[in-house]
Symmetry: C2
Subunit: 118 residues, 2 copies
DNA sequence: CTGAATCCAGATGGATACTG
DNA sequence: CAGTATCCATCTGGATTCAG
């Protein structure tokens, strides 16, 4: 049926667009690692994340955190300490990523064994 | 306890490394979309994928498919037609990504509504 | 401490033309 | 059809320095 095929293809297009939307929000070398770091500790300071995420520079961390904030995945709070400290935490929406991150982690473990450990 | 904290942190490091391993295999602008396209149809030819994945160039498609093949996520089969056609399909290992892709799709839908559709 | 600004090399990726 | 080759603009991201 011409109609059925078209419907199926449109469904598929929608799925792919949604996946792409998700990836847009999570693109960049460090975003997942940053979210991982924050969600694991609840709240986390700039310099803490800088230590957690191996290899990231402050320039990149700053940039990616900003993007995460724009996408409402992360909440930024400035504390009136001296000198200033800043806390980052996941928003409710950001927390919905935990399932995906856990699965990515599981899959990554299997994948490494498959590729490297043979 | 010092010991407990250390253990917890090591667990966290492992998780982050695994997530990073997963993302390494899936990096690049198009990989997820490519996998999406293939897995949805079972088998898919080069030119089909080129049409499915909106915006990708043959240069990029070729490159990303090659990387997916190296990571054993995709299997490439040359058919002895005239002119030659090539079929791509997911490996067993590649198929284990379906759960993640589905979840990414679901999350992406919610995310778009949250960010754009407000 | 938390960033922003600048500089710069190298990676990424599009357009186009070409091969088997 | 399924790529490869080349050229070239843009983007990415590290190092370093500076500012509030």
């Amino acid at each position: 049926m011409k109609c059925a095929i078209t419907e199926f293809q449109q469904e598929q297009k929608k799925r792919m667009r949604s996946v792409q939307d998700a990836m847009d929000a999570l693109n960049g070398k460090w975003k997942i690692a940053i979210i991982s770091s924050i969600c694991c500790y609840g709240k986390r300071r700039f310099s803490d994340i800088l230590n957690d995420v191996e290899g990231v520079s402050n320039r990149m961390l700053s940039k990616e955190l900003k993007e995460l904030e724009i996408n409402q995945l992360v909440k930024r709070t400035v504390l009136a300490t001296q000198p200033i400290t800043v806390e980052y935490e996941l928003t409710e929406h950001g927390n919905t990523l935990q399932t995906i991150i856990t699965e990515l982690s599981d899959w990554g473990t299997v994948h490494r064994k498959k590729i490297v450990g043979k």
